[in-house]
């Protein structure tokens, strides 16, 4: 009896260990990301919200957790997320995988916010009865203390981002904060260069390409996304005149054969009108000629 139990436990330990190392080898999650914890409490409410996000974005490949309906035609086959392989990963690892993606697994960095990604993880964790959450000490309200200023240097074509924190002890520069610079486009935000860390003065500099189209006056909306361990995610936008002024004519401006009647080429209009007139003229001529014949007939002396 004891022997059998021992075997089961040993098998479980070995398989957990194996799966864990397997998963780790697969994803190479950096140590600091692995230790990251959620500031959102994993409860029924957050899991419920996470389920809606999961069904919309994840279920098409991963299926419903525990149901075994994963998309088996894919290579590699996506794991069932209630499986021990997934559940043995830390919250930070799950968050990293969800954020960075790889191969067929898309990254959800631009698609879901930090909060939404944690909620999905909350949903995944709801399938693990033995899971106990370690909450992050992070306070999302601290984000209000941050002040981001963005300036453009025309000479060097650089955008300088300056981050200050309004702490109780006074205004201090925020160093080692992750900064991403984006330009607002109609359907999304276009990233300029890769994310950078602020230096000791809370500053970072981006080379801004000279061929980014702006509006008619060359104005573009710059968005700075800041991500800091202690202050969370902050987004600030400024409108600056650093794009190429763009005022392209409407595609229907030119007269074309496929255009509407109002935009038909002149030669078609003229040709058509000439045709109609020519036809009318021939008809009129015929009527006149016939009338002439009739008259000459009736004028005949009897």
């Amino acid at each position: 009896m004891y022997n059998r139990n021992f075997k089961i436990v040993a098998l479980a330990v070995v398989s957990v260990f194996f799966l864990q190392t397997f998963a780790q080898n697969n994803w190479n999650v950096p140590a600091d990301k692995k230790a990251k914890n959620s500031y959102i409490k994993f409860d029924a409410a957050s899991a419920g919200q996470g389920e809606a996000i999961y069904n919309k974005n994840c279920a098409s490949c991963h299926g419903n957790p525990g149901k075994g309906n994963v998309q088996k035609t894919l290579n590699p086959i996506p794991p069932d997320l209630s499986s021990i392989g997934t559940q043995s990963l830390t919250d930070g690892e799950l968050f990293y995988i969800l954020s960075s993606g790889r191969g067929l697994m898309p990254n959800f960095k631009s698609m879901l916010s930090d909060e939404e990604r944690w909620k999905v993880i909350s949903y995944i964790r709801s399938f693990n009865k033995g899971y106990v959450q370690t909450l992050s000490k992070f306070d999302p309200n601290k984000a209000k203390l941050i002040k981001v200023s963005t300036n453009y240097d025309r000479k060097t074509a650089q955008v300088k981002v300056d981050v200050k924190v309004n702490e109780k002890s006074g205004i201090v520069a925020l160093k080692n904060a992750e900064i991403g610079l984006f330009v607002t486009r109609y359907f999304g935000k276009l990233q300029i260069q890769k994310n950078q860390l602020t230096n000791a003065d809370g500053q970072t500099v981006f080379d801004f390409p000279k061929d980014i189209p702006g509006d008619k006056t060359g104005t573009v909306e710059l968005v700075v996304k800041l991500n800091d361990e202690n202050y969370g995610e902050i987004e600030s936008s400024t409108k600056l005149q650093l794009g190429v002024p763009t005022d392209k004519p409407a595609l229907t401006d030119k007269r074309a054969i496929w255009g509407t009647l109002a935009k038909a080429p002149f030669w078609i209009i003229l040709l058509y009108l000439a045709g109609v007139f020519a036809f009318g003229a021939v008809l009129l001529y015929l009527i006149f000629a016939l009338n002439k014949i009739r008259k000459s007939g009736s004028n005949k002396p009897q």
Binding site: F187, L190, K248
Partner: protein, 321 residues
């Protein structure tokens, strides 16, 4: 004879002024009577009270004279939608990029499209084709929507101006004008158009809905329907139905003027021209001079196998071409 005839009586000035006076006073009296009548009518109407239903679902009683129409009647709405749909969005030139290396025939785009535009299952605004270009080249999946050409042959042949190109590049069809001649189907080299041969799938539920030319709903039997680049979604700044439904990151959609396209799956925005340049983007049948607004990236480095069951269809297509 002429002697019997009396000379026409010449009217004196006195008589003329007399007549003028009568006419003048008559007009004055008549006018004031009409004025009084209108005023009386107004007052009478003012006293009439009517019951109205507010947006909050409360029944209120107000004087009829104080009523003003706020909701547009259906016909006015239709005209408005048609006009807005015909003009398109100023300053935009929409483009789509389809990355063939990522498509694995999930057909979620087709499902989302058919649902949005109330199409029968056999009707496709967008269709994922199984392609093989020559005997030795590998087969691949190719989603094919309307190419929204800058030189569209379909609009050139329409005899009633029902199908048209907009300033933002989108080619639409107005079912209220379409006479069902199907010239455009014959003209389109990409076979992008479908015809409503049978009664549309949701025709009962759609009855009475105002026709939206940017959505093609309600569909109408005997008219053409085609891919609209989801003009209604795009107007709201959202990605098209097919683009956002794709689970594999196949589609990019954006504005050529902004030189940016956004991936429907990852929502990542990249530069339009750079994406084409880095991946060898191309258009379908460029030799026809249609200048499509849909670009393709070649099926290089595919991460999925072409399904065995689809190979037969791909071979057939090759055989028939």
């Amino acid at each position: 004879m002429s002697e019997n005839q009396e000379k026409p009586k010449k009217r004196t000035r006195r008589e003329f002024i007399q007549d003028l006076g009568i006419v003048g006073i008559g007009t004055l009296i008549g006018g004031s009577a009409i004025f009084a009548g209108v005023n009386y009518d107004k007052r009478k109407k003012a006293a009439e009270r009517v019951k109205v239903l507010t947006a909050e679902n409360e029944v209120m009683e107000v004087e009829k004279s104080e009523l003003a129409k706020s909701a547009k009647p259906a016909l006015e709405n239709l005209t408005y939608l048609q006009q807005q749909g015909r003009e398109g969005m100023a300053g935009k030139r929409f483009v789509m990029i389809i990355d063939l290396s990522k498509c694995r025939n999930a057909r979620k785009c087709m499902a989302a499209c058919n649902e949005a535009h109330h199409l029968r299952p056999e009707q496709h605004h967008i269709n994922v084709l199984k392609m093989q270009d020559s005997a030795n080249t590998p087969a691949y999946y190719m989603p094919k929507p309307c190419q929204h050409c800058d030189n569209p042959p379909c609009t050139a042949v329409c005899p009633v101006d029902a199908t048209f190109k907009r300033q933002d590049g989108i080619v639409l069809i107005d079912n209220e004008r379409c006479i069902g001649c199907r010239f455009c189907i014959a003209a389109c080299p990409y076979s992008a158009r479908v015809f409503n041969w049978a009664e549309p799938i949701h025709s009962l539920e759609d009855e009475g809905k105002v026709y939206n030319v940017e959505l093609n709903v309600p569909q109408k039997k005997g008219t053409i329907s085609k891919c609209l680049f989801s003009a209604d979604r795009v107007r709201e700044g959202k990605l098209p139905y097919c683009v956002s439904a794709c689970p594999n990151g196949v589609y990019y959609f954006g504005d050529e003027n902004e030189d940016a396209v956004t991936n429907g799956t990852t929502k990542e925005t990249v530069r339009f021209r750079k994406l084409l340049e880095d991946n060898g983007g191309y258009t379908l049948m460029p030799e026809l001079g249609t200048h499509p607004r849909v670009y393709y990236l070649p099926p290089k480095g595919k991460e999925y196998p072409f399904q065995e069951k689809d190979k037969e269809e791909a071979r057939e297509r090759l055989h028939n071409s």
